[in-house]
């Protein structure tokens, strides 16, 4: 999401905030629009930052403490910006049984990160998912939003290495 934070992104900034406002309007700016609004924020910004939480809190008339409470309660929301590439390893039962742990260990070893962390050069974020429902293809890994099935430490490493080569 680096490029999105760059200078001269004013037009894009307006567009993104309009998306957020649109979602709130769609639900009549009612407090129950909170979760849907947070989804829109995460979709357009990649993460949820404090200023936007404040903005939503005022618009929907929900205390900031509650906005923060909801944003941190649900695992899908992240309050930290993600790296350039994301690698989400599914740790559902089927993937766990078939070796998801080895994949996480391997990435950890190669890039010195734990699940939920981003490499210091901001290139790669390693995340885990509870279950993608791709159990028939376990273990599954999502590379930048694209699901890949039947993975192993070598194949995951190969995909990530190609990112770093670019």
């Amino acid at each position: 999401m680096n490029e999105q934070q760059g200078v001269g992104a004013k037009g894009q900034e307006d567009r993104r905030i309009r998306m957020v406002e649109r979602t709130m309007r769609m639900y009549g700016n009612e407090p129950h629009a909170l979760i849907e609004t947070l989804h829109t924020i995460q979709e357009s910004y990649g993460y949820i930052d404090t200023d936007l939480m404040r903005f939503v809190s005022e618009k929907l008339g929900v205390p900031l403490s509650k906005v923060y409470g909801v944003a941190t309660f649900y695992h899908f929301f992240t309050l930290k910006p993600q790296g350039e590439h994301t690698c989400v390893v599914c740790t559902g039962t089927a993937c766990y049984i078939t070796g998801a742990k080895n994949i996480i260990d391997e990435i950890g070893k190669q890039y010195d990160i734990k699940p939920g962390e981003t490499t210091s050069d901001n290139k790669l974020s390693l995340l885990t998912a509870r279950c993608l429902g791709a159990c028939g293809l376990a273990p599954a890994v999502v590379f930048d939003g694209v699901v890949a099935g039947k993975q192993n430490p070598e194949s995951v490493n190969e995909t990530i290495r190609r990112w770093f080569e670019k």
């Binding site: 309660f73 649900y74 089927a94 429902g133 159990c135 293809l137």
Partner: protein
């Protein structure tokens, strides 16, 4: 929309279908999509166009064909040929072989037990219709049950059919659906809601995802019938944000249904209005619990509250609310169409109909299956599932996810129904079935589920919040070879406590995986404690014997 118009759509669609000598059905459910089935479908379309055979051959995307392990799958209709692991480079040969000898190297025998031993009701349209076109659903008899209910039946007649069918909640609880509907119908209140629980949080389960991706209209129709029966005109589908394809297809299906007038205002020229909205979950397992789900739809943290009052009386925004699972709603149109007697002819005395299961883990044929209730676990694992790959030995099958238990070889001949599984210390659950072989350590598996519940506990009640952390601590200690016999006793006592005193289903069922593994695999626990060794070689025991 009138009945004649509905039949007209079906007629036109069926005539169009009859025009094609061969139809190539490419699976475009999430499993095959991640193996590249969209590119495959495009390749077929290009090849058909290139050869100029559009007038007798068609390629289309269809819902899940079931055998996810061998994706991308395609089926040639009406020939009944199934090909597996098809690559764009096979397109040429597949089209050449139409009407003749099938291509042997990618042929998937359609007479294998995986296909023949199933009984499809919920999955009847899977692999046959394009989930993104309402016309195809209508051509297969869709929305006729809704018409029947609205024009020919009173709400109590509809409920009567559901009661007689013996349908029970497919989300795992097994509460009689007819009884739930009756309670909501009788509840007083001018505004009532219907909610479809599509927050399939059980790791290892993907039945609901497949139903929503492969036949979304079926769920919408079931919900509308339920709305008419209980007197609700507004509905929500609470679906996991982790299922983008299901969300996309649901949105499309709702828009199509509203456009045709089978949802919305004055459906089939009756005073019945029904409006369905989507709400996205945000990755909280506890939101599968009905009161937590309601709290989430209201825009709050997903924390459960004590019941009673049940949502049937005091639900969404305090109004009477009917909550059913995806698969439960998906059964409804078939019950009305074929009658309750037909439906109750499947299954066992107390568990009627069929159940969809997601087979995964160490099993040959991973994928989605539907069998009549009462089918034995052995038939599911070894006939339909094809047994364990690589000559490994079957160890256990886990049903019901983090709320269920492990079932061993000795009990494989038990029929699958709500009561039998409960007797074995497991539960039916929503339908995830994870098969394990001797490479899985049962202490590690128990630890995995407890860790899951520990992080997913909402933190509202103490037994679940602190109990899960303590259970995890003890299991971790044992798995690292530091445990003693006292820890085992403490763990047992803690399981009872958490089970009996937690506020909601998450806490109440969380000890099940621990209790069942301690019961059936006590020797493995003891090996970790006394011999400081992990028999499966999974746990990392420092200084222990391997």
């Amino acid at each position: 929309m009138t009945y004649e118009e509905l039949l007209e759509i079906a007629k036109i669609e069926n005539e169009k279908k009859a025009q094609y000598v061969h139809t190539i059905n490419v699976c475009v459910a999430a499993g095959c999509m991640s193996c590249g089935s969209q590119e495959l479908l495009d390749a077929f379309r290009r090849e058909i166009e290139k050869r100029g055979i559009e007038n007798w051959c068609k390629a289309k995307g269809v819902g899940c064909l079931g055998l996810c392990t061998a994706g991308p799958l395609i089926a040639i209709e009406p020939d009944g040929i199934i090909y597996k692991a098809v690559k764009p480079s096979d397109v040429h040969d597949v089209i050449d072989a139409l009407g003749g000898e099938p291509v042997k190297r990618i042929l998937c025998p359609s007479d294998m037990s995986f296909f023949t031993k199933q009984q499809k009701i919920v999955l009847e349209n899977f692999g046959k219709i394009d989930p993104e076109r309402i016309d195809e659903y209508i051509a297969s008899g869709g929305y006729q049950s809704l018409y029947l209910a609205l024009r020919e039946m009173s709400p109590s007649m509809v409920i009567d059919q559901i009661v007689k069918s013996g349908l029970r909640g497919r989300g795992g609880g097994g509460y009689p659906t007819g009884l739930k509907w009756t309670t909501v119908m009788k509840a007083s209140g001018s505004q009532k809601y219907v909610i479809c629980n599509a927050d399939e949080g059980d790791p290892g389960a993907f039945m609901d995802r497949s139903v929503l991706e492969s036949d979304p209209h079926r769920v919408l129709e079931g919900m509308a019938i339920a709305g008419y029966a209980v007197g609700a005109d507004k509905a929500f589908i609470y679906v996991r944000a982790e299922y983008p394809l299901a969300i996309k297809r649901l949105r499309k299906a709702i828009a199509q249904a509203e456009h045709l007038g089978v949802l919305g205002r004055g459906i089939f020229n009756t005073p019945f209005n029904f409006d369905i909205k989507l709400r996205l979950g945000a990755g909280a397992f506890v939101c599968g619990e009905e009161t937590a789900l309601i709290s989430s739809i209201e825009g709050n943290r997903g924390t459960p509250r004590p019941r009673p009052p049940y949502p049937a009386e005091y639900g969404l925004w305090g109004c009477p609310t009917l909550i059913n699972n995806v698969e439960t709603f998906a059964n409804v149109p078939a019950i009305l169409r074929n009658g309750s007697q037909w439906y109750s002819s499947f299954g066992t005395e107390k568990s009627k109909g069929t159940k969809v299961f997601a087979l995964a883990g160490r099993i040959k044929n991973t994928g989605l299956i539907e069998v009549a209730m009462g089918t034995t676990l052995r038939e599911i694992v070894f006939d339909i599932g094809g047994g364990i790959p690589d000559g490994s030995k079957f160890k256990a099958v886990q049903t019901g996810g983090p709320s269920g238990g492990c079932i061993t070889e000795a009990f494989l001949d038990q029929p699958v129904d709500y009561e039998s599984l409960a007797k074995l210390g497991s539960i039916m659950g929503s339908g995830g079935m994870i098969v394990m072989d001797d490479t899985s350590c049962m202490v590690d598996v128990a630890k995995f589920f407890v860790e899951f519940c520990m992080t997913e506990s909402c933190g509202k009640c103490v037994p679940c919040r602190d109990g899960s952390a303590q259970m995890h601590y003890l299991l971790d200690k044992i798995s690292r070879g530091h445990g003693n016999t006292n820890d085992l006793h403490s763990l047992e006592k803690l399981c009872e406590l958490v089970k009996n005193t937690s506020l909601c289903g998450l806490g109440m069922t969380m000890p099940n995986p621990v209790i069942s593994t301690m019961h059936y695999f006590r020797d493995e626990y003891l090996a970790h404690i006394h011999d400081k060794t992990c028999p499966a070689g999974v746990c990392n025991i420092k200084g222990g014997r391997k």
